[in-house]
């Protein structure tokens, strides 16, 4: 009974909120360009489903390419950085600077560099910049997380730096790396959306463009429908990554 309640609770809360929203819109006669009721949002979502799905796919594809690119750069960089404290001191400030610089501020530059006719390249690049830091810092933290007694054991047996990296530090880093990728995936989607807003062109046909376009035409229900698609995309991605993380950690610990 208690478990069933716990399962139903979040849906019940959403249902109550939607009902309140619907009722408020109707009773107060709110104009739908200002705040459409959920029923209208749903109607817009269904009517535009093909377009929204295609746009969501475009956003997801850009975010995933960005994630792959970020991982491809951040992982070897973290491994090399982990080998040498001097290198780490040299690289860390740069990585932090990259992280604290607002992506919105960098976007116009990247849009110019990528070529105005290729907004998808600029968007992917910007999303990759955002996704870089969680992966890099996760991997680096992980590389330093090895059991100190195991480190002593490697000292004792006179292991080489490479042996220590491959046989101790890299496997110790795996859970941190996976966590970093999970965080980065969410960031990459945000990055892809923000970058598309800044690029301000329909060339990439992502979800941000759907929101911009509907907003320009004052089709507020369609804006909400695009937001709903974005939320579903984010939740789906998070769910998949959570599953991957659980499986990977179970394999790492030897418990299936």
């Amino acid at each position: 009974m208690k478990r069933a309640l716990a399962l139903v609770a979040p849906f019940a809360l959403i249902a109550v909120m939607l009902l309140g929203w619907e009722a408020a819109c109707r009773l107060l006669a709110v104009p739908s360009y200002f705040l459409p009721p959920p029923s209208e949002v749903w109607a817009a979502f269904v009517a535009n489903r093909t377009l929204l799905f295609a746009s969501a796919w475009n956003t997801l594809a850009m975010a995933l390419w960005a994630l792959a690119a970020a991982a491809a750069v951040a992982t070897p960089l973290a491994l090399v950085t982990g080998l040498s404290p001097t290198l780490e001191r040299a690289i860390a400030p740069l990585a932090v600077t990259l992280q604290v610089t607002p992506i919105v501020a960098v976007a116009p530059l990247v849009v110019i560099w990528a070529g105005l006719e290729h907004p998808e390249r600029a968007i992917t690049t910007l999303a990759a910049v955002v996704a870089f830091f969680p992966i890099f810092s996760g991997a680096l933290t992980g590389l330093r997380s090895a059991d100190p007694d195991l480190e002593r054991l490697f000292d004792l047996y006179g292991s080489s730096r490479l042996q220590r990296l491959v046989r101790l530090r890299a496997p110790s880093a795996a859970p941190f790396f996976i966590e970093g990728v999970k965080v980065a995936a969410g960031q990459a989607v945000i990055g892809a959306v923000v970058a598309e807003f800044v690029a301000g062109s329909g060339g990439a046909q992502g979800l941000a463009w759907r929101i911009l376009e509907a907003g320009n035409r004052l089709r507020t229900a369609e804006m909400f429908a695009a937001l709903l698609a974005l939320a579903l995309l984010g939740a789906a991605l998070y769910g998949v990554l959570l599953l991957v993380e659980r499986k990977a950690l179970a394999a790492w610990r030897g418990r299936d």
Binding site: R152, L156, Y157, R167, W252, R253, G254
Partner: protein, 250 residues
């Protein structure tokens, strides 16, 4: 008397200018069983790291006549890599020394069998009980046939029955290849049981307060814990440990 494997000569260890250990002089002869007891924070683990060569003295000398791979350490926790099987964990020292995987794994299986873990080769550390994990850790330490085996409170986290079984196992394994053993513990009875010589350290900075020689044969015969001479030595060492704690506190 053969040359000592390790000689600490007035060795001291200081961290950030603060003396943590010493001055301390100690010889380890080949094949000898030495136990080190002392209060917490008395530098027992630091002593072990000096003997292992993992740390250099900040004053005095530590002379080690041991090549790489001739020293092995068993830590307080089993210190096994969670992502690797028991067999892979035990084979690690050999593989780090450059031995081929097939031969290292074969030897690891034999080493696991010696500590009573035949059949657990493919298990991961998370699937081993505390006692089994400690045995695997012991197998890993013994796989290089070390001349010096250092044990840093290896049974601290185990229940009494497992502790006693492991104590006898360690002595039995010692009798097979006779490495020099240093056994660090805060348990006086365990120290007297496990060693022919018990060194009592003072509270930090640790110095040697007293040294005792224990009676009876090694490995210990069944029922040895009830032996009158054994009990008497335990009492003597306990008294020395107590006064060492009190003196350094005063």
């Amino acid at each position: 008397m053969s040359e000592p494997l390790v000689r600490l000569d007035e060795a001291q260890v200081a961290y950030r200018g603060r003396l943590a250990l010493g001055p301390l002089s100690l010889d380890l002869s080949p094949g000898a069983l030495t136990a080190v007891v002392g209060p917490s924070g008395g530098g027992k683990s630091t002593t072990l790291r000096l003997l292992a060569g993992l740390e250099a003295p900040s004053a005095g000398r530590a002379v080690r006549r041991l090549a790489r791979g001739e020293t092995a350490v068993v830590f307080q926790a089993p210190t096994l890599a969670p992502w690797a099987s028991a067999e892979a964990n035990v084979a690690l020292p050999l593989e780090l020394a450059g031995m081929g995987r097939t031969e290292a794994r074969t030897r690891a299986r034999a080493a696991l069998a010696r500590v009573g873990l035949a059949g657990a080769e493919r298990l991961r550390p998370a699937q081993l009980s505390g006692g089994m994990a400690m045995r695997a850790s012991l197998a890993r330490a013994l796989i290089t046939a070390p001349k010096l085996l250092l044990l840093d409170e290896p049974f601290a986290a185990l229940d009494e029955i497992t502790r006693r079984a492991l104590a006898d196992d360690v002595l039995r394994l010692w009798a097979e290849t006779r490495p020099a053993v240093v056994f660090v513990t805060h348990n006086v009875e365990e120290a007297v049981y496990m060693a022919e010589r018990v060194v009592v350290l003072t509270r930090g900075p640790g110095r040697i307060a007293a040294t005792f020689h224990t009676p009876g044969p090694l490995p210990r015969p069944p029922g040895f814990r009830a032996d009158a001479a054994f009990r008497q030595t335990v009492e003597q060492v306990s008294a020395a440990l107590e006064s060492a704690v009190r003196e350094s506190a005063a």
